[in-house]
């Protein structure tokens, strides 16, 4: 079945998934796990990993998957196949961690910014959240305006790294 890349928040894990009998062998994180799944309906799945049995609850909305297993909850997105090695575009797209209202945009396109500098403030559920630059560089794009209602995951600001700065880029 090949490779699947799971996006877990800010990190990605590539798994190799193979059918074996009526189950799967999943290679991830250096180990190989034999996984048997039996859907029970209503989002419940009988799960067996190695010797261990559990009932998982699964839900999905669009690209987002949610898995609950023995007190752990995992939210993930799935990309199949070769995206694993795809080089990440240089620079950073700063995403809103939650939906909300953009209350302030604190920088403009072309501004040079430092790590940790506040760029955008959004508000949701009676709380403010400050989106800060994750690297030093120059603002390439600002995709929101004050007053915008945005969804979680929206890339609000794109920053290009400063020349010669913090790069293992080839």
């Amino acid at each position: 079945m090949g490779e699947l890349t799971l996006h877990l928040g800010d990190r990605a894990v590539t798994c190799d998934v193979e059918r074996e009998g009526d189950g799967f062998v999943v290679r991830a994180g250096g180990g190989a796990h034999r996984v048997h799944l039996s859907p029970l309906g209503a989002g419940a799945l009988r799960v067996r990993v190695g010797d261990h049995l559990a009932i998982a609850t699964v839900a999905r909305q669009g690209e987002r998957w949610y898995l609950h297993l023995d007190g752990h909850t995992l939210e993930y997105r799935v990309a199949s196949g070769g995206r694993r090695g795809a080089p990440r575009a240089s620079g950073a797209g700063l995403v809103a961690p939650m939906p909300g209202l953009v209350t302030q945009v604190l920088a403009g396109v072309g501004d040079s910014v430092t790590v940790g500098q506040p760029l955008v403030i959004i508000e949701a559920m009676k709380m403010e959240h400050v989106i800060r630059s994750s690297l030093g560089g120059r603002i390439r794009a600002i995709n929101v305006r004050s007053g915008d209602q945005i969804e979680g995951g929206t890339v609000v600001v794109e920053v290009s790294p400063a020349e010669g700065a913090g790069g293992s880029a080839p």
Partner: protein
Amino acid sequence: MRKVLIANRGEIAVRIIRACRELGLAAAAVYSEADRDALHVRLADDALPIGAADPRESYLNIDRLVEAARSCGADAVHPGYGFLAESSGFAAAVRDAGLTFVGPPPEVIAALGDKIEARRTMERAGIARRLGAPLLVKAAGGGGGRGVRLVERLDDLPEALESARREAGAAFGSSALYLERHLPEVHHIEIQILADGGGTVCHLGERECSVQRRLQKLIEETPSPFVAPPLRARLAETAVAAAEAVRYVNAGSVEFLVEPGGQFYFLEVNTRLQVEHPITEVATGVDLVKWQLRIAAGESLPREPAVSRGHAIECRIYAEDPAQDFAPSPGPILALQEPGGPGIRVDSGVYAGWQIPVAYDPLLAKVVAWDRTRPEAIARLQGALRRYVLLGCRTNLTFLQDVVGHEAFRSGNTTTRVIEQRFRGWRPAVPDELVAVAAAVAALSEQDPTILVPGAGGDAGRVPARGEPQAFQDPWERVGRWRMGAGRG
């Protein structure tokens, strides 16, 4: 009193509606545009729209709330907590409309809402020596301990200011100063009060509310593992004296900051129901919301004192991401399994299928565990948190499991800084097995997209014929409980 309008939303509106129903009172809900599908709207006898999602247009709009109460024939209004619960203007508007406000009189709310006036009142009542707090005088431009003065008594403040100003000016070229409260390791403890219209005041023990994040309470418990009986008696006595001094009526909480040595400082009186009221209810068997309604209807408190039993702990379940500085995380609730069983109470304001609105507080529900002893209550709470399934948004369920299981919490010596001290940079454990299952689920769903449809699964609804082979290949092998590796992701 026959019909109560509940000027609130979320789990507390649900809680109050149920109390009304149990007392034989009709309950009217109000809802903003964002709450059309909210649980409290579904449960009420009546539901009245009051405006746009923005609280100023709805839950904070006094005129609309009073008009809603009038139009549905309510003769009383319960404010819940938050929003207008401590607005003397709202209480007065309700009274002026000829309705009963389920809370203290507006004058009492006003007197206690103004912190300086509240403090003066307490001073007149002889609670003065417990007011105030030690202060730190600090140089605005300083550092390294220079320009800093510890002020134990307010009488010493003028001299300390003079002295610090000189030092700061010399050291940093600026004599600007600021003051801050000096409370390095402090407990946030409150006493629950009930007072009836006849002047009877009783207390129902304390609540330890020190475990906080973003200055908001996260875990509360009663009794406080930190409070010994003599301190408890002094806190309770002070709280009752404070309530009597202002002729308090209805339910309220008197908040104190308590230092490790047992010195305590009056902070304020919350003239309303607290979020964490269930732990007191579970421990004492006294239904605070019903008593609020009964007192508002003119009933007197019983003569026998409330007796507390065992230990109760509450965790607040928030739609937020503890790994991203507790950023709120609204979203749809795609799957929901709230825990039950012995000693577990869940006060919930949500249901599967509901979309958590962006406009309001991220509190979804509260889990309360009760047992005879604190370690047993913790064990129950951990089980309940592990069984709790809520998919579709991020929650603090995993975080709470880690906090409750941490030695800092188990020791009972929690102060208001425990979360920032012990859980800075917290990330959920993501065991490899969990990732493997996630990948397998995605792979299986690629082959059969119907696996998540209710009723479509497995052999449900069918009696297997005798001798029919089972889908599961090795059912007779012994299986162990899921114990995943604890690698931090």
